[in-house]
């Protein structure tokens, strides 16, 4: 409860801070302080084991979700620390941008704690609507407008599908409460659910698939990530996406696990398509930002493995993937946002000019590619292990690693540009010592996760 309330209050507070503070710096500091409070609030809520019901049984704080909330609060704090200057620079309404971020966080906390489909719906909407605004926040830029419109149209369409799914499930069960006897009688009894419930579940997969940018529902992703202001893209691509995945795995592993055979085929096809389209299309991209958008689709393919495999390892994998992927994405975007030219050529010579930036980017890219000793390796490793534990679809796992090898191509292209080619990488602004320290910290965290993934899993 703490995290939800604090984030909602912080959102309001940030909007008001725009009235009180004239200086942008003050607003930024408020946001940083707010994120710290959010982190403390979610730490206070941490429960070591079991679950905690609250809000008349509509929220259920599982020990995994409490830990997830802490991690996401920490990540959002890191995000604000790394990007607060760039966020403020997007337009005139800096206070509102931070408010939107906190609102999105509120949605994410709801999504990690829901035990009622109503809360799930609210969580997804609270998370989505601010993002439509964030995508279009660079009002003068037509690309930003376009991405906002595309995101909005497709996002609200997927809301319709989500609602239809929820409605059908309600029609089949007569309850929104995932823990109510009526609900569990349909989905947990082991008997085949009715067609109504079945279609409802499949529609929910589509809706989640849309939000997690899984193929064939991924089409909004490259355009929106590319068109949005670079300050917001990492947030949308990492923390938000990971939050949706948490909701996804929570619903499907806690409520629909008994009927796994009724949705795993579709999930497997989605994984294969997502990996294929994400990785293959990324190869051709000329802009690093757009490449990262496709790569986020590809990474979603791997995260889908966690949802696909119904076992404990999948939860570990999801936790690890969430953090490793978020940290890596934040790190690489922190470098990207400093660049004047987002093409591969724009990165040429960065290794010589800005060793800290280049090293951070390199470590984050290695992590995204899944090279050992970075968090990304164990993230991929755990989700594949979970799928292997499932014992099905080994060909799919082999396909996934083939695609991981393809992914090395476009990630390493950036590394090659930075280190091996001569060039004059132009920056929009010099990064100050604090930012550099943060980047190094980020990189160290990524490596730390790659050496001791147990740090995250022990909770």
């Amino acid at each position: 409860m703490n995290a939800i309330v604090i984030s909602a209050l912080l959102g309001v507070l940030m909007m008001l801070s725009g009235l009180f503070f004239k200086r942008s710096a003050a607003i930024q500091w408020t946001a940083i302080a707010g994120s710290a409070i959010l982190l403390i609030g979610s730490i206070l809520e941490l429960i070591p084991a079991g679950q905690n019901k609250m809000f008349y049984g509509m929220l259920e704080l599982h020990h995994v979700s409490s830990w997830f909330n802490v991690l996401m609060s920490a990540c959002v704090m890191l995000y604000i620390l790394l990007f607060h200057r760039s966020i403020a620079k997007v337009g005139r309404n800096d206070a509102e941008y931070f408010a939107l971020i906190f609102f999105v966080m509120c949605g994410i906390y709801l999504m990690s704690m829901y035990s009622n489909l109503l809360i799930l719906f609210l969580g997804i909407e609270i998370m989505s609507i601010p993002q439509y605004i964030m995508a279009g926040s660079d009002k003068e830029n037509i690309k930003s407008n376009e991405s906002a419109l595309k995101y909005f149209l497709m996002g609200s369409f997927s809301t319709g599908i989500l609602l239809m799914g929820i409605t059908l499930i309600y029609g089949a069960t007569g309850s929104f409460d995932l823990l109510s006897p009526k609900f569990t009688a349909v989905f947990q009894s082991g008997a085949d659910p009715s067609s109504l419930a079945m279609i409802g579940v499949l529609l929910l997969i589509v809706a989640f698939g849309f939000k997690t940018s899984s193929s064939p529902f991924h089409f909004w992703t490259p355009d929106v990530y590319d068109g949005s202001p670079t300050a917001f893209t990492p947030f949308m691509a990492s923390i938000v996406k990971v939050g949706v995945f948490m909701a996804f795995i929570r619903l499907f592993h806690l409520s629909f696990i008994q009927m796994a055979s009724h949705w795993q085929l579709m999930m497997a096809l989605m994984i294969a398509l997502t990996l294929l389209i994400g990785n293959i299309t990324a190869v051709y991209q000329q802009s690093v930002k757009r490449m990262l958008a496709y790569s986020s689709i590809a990474q979603a393919g791997f995260m889908l493995f966690a949802v696909f495999s119904t076992n404990q390892t999948a939860w570990d994998g999801m936790m690890l993937y969430s953090v490793a992927y978020t940290l890596s994405t934040l790190g690489i975007f922190a470098v990207l946002i400093k660049m004047k030219d987002y093409t591969y050529d724009g990165f040429k010579g960065l290794g010589k000019k800005e060793p800290v930036l280049a090293a951070t980017a390199t470590i984050c890219l290695l992590s995204l590619a899944g090279i050992p000793l970075t968090g990304g390796f164990f993230a991929k490793y755990f989700v594949l292990n979970a799928a292997m534990e499932q014992g099905l679809w080994i060909a799919l796992i082999i396909f996934a690693v083939l695609m991981a090898a393809v992914s090395a191509y476009y990630y390493f292209k950036v590394i090659m540009s930075m280190y091996f080619y001569e060039g004059d990488a132009e920056l929009t602004e010099e990064s100050n010592a604090v930012e550099k320290t943060l980047m190094i910290m980020n990189a160290v965290l990524v490596i730390l996760l790659g050496v001791m993934p147990g740090l995250i899993l022990n909770h």
């Binding site: 193929s215 529902f217 089409f219 055979s261 579709m266 989605m270 293959i280």
Partner: protein, 300 residues
Amino acid sequence: MVTHAFFKALLFLGSGSVIHAVDGEQDIRKMGGLKKYMKTTYLTFLIGCIAIAGIFPFSGFFSKDEILLHVFTHGNFGKVYLILGMLAALMTAYYMFRLFWVTFHGQYRGGHDKHPHESPALMTIPLVVLAILSLIGGLIGIPEIMGGNHALHHFLSPVLIRSTASQAMVHEVSHTAEWILMGVATVIALMGILMAWFYFKSYQSQKTNTGVSRFFENKWYIDEMYDGVIVKPLQSLSRWTEKIIEKSGIDGVVNGVGRLIQYSSNKLRLLQSGLVGFYLFMIVAGMILLFVIQIWFNKF
């Protein structure tokens, strides 16, 4: 096979030394009488020649002997191979000593501007070492008939724990036969040497031989044959293989996979047409397709 390498290397280096001595001249007809200019090379070269001819007790003797022995005991065609082997031994002795006599004895036939000289110690020391090895290399392989116990095999004994069985089989051949073979081999080699001595002891001029000698003069055209039949075709085959199989075949496949990915990337990205209407259509179409597949397979 084992010891062969010693004297091959020795001769190889020795000729290197000779060539060095006469400033790069490789034609033996323009050498001769080098004995007095380069004693070390002369001696070591002699040892190499004797060894390769297979005279007792040099290393070539034992290895050749053993090969012949193996050949002799091998199957029905053993005798035929044996005769061929003997002939080969004769020719080896002959041509090696021809080389030897022509190069080191007689008069120096190079131009007067050239002054043959002994190679520096750096070149001769390996020669000496190899010569000694050629000498004793055979001794370590002395067959048991002579009281030796195949030191080489013992030297490699950790290697050969299990191969004693096959050894025993080889030595089933009677010792008499072995002695005879040895004798015959030595005699043949000596014959070869004598022939060479007879013809080339006092090789003087650069006169052009005719007829059969000419045929021999040109090493039976064996170099040419060897060159034409084995080396040239092998090299051109290799060149062809490099071009066709290596570059276009294997590497072509490897690079082709890369290009295929690039190509499909180029095509797949067209799906991302930028039109929201198309996206929405694809979402719905994909959704329906996935539903159909899932429901079809669940037989609902």
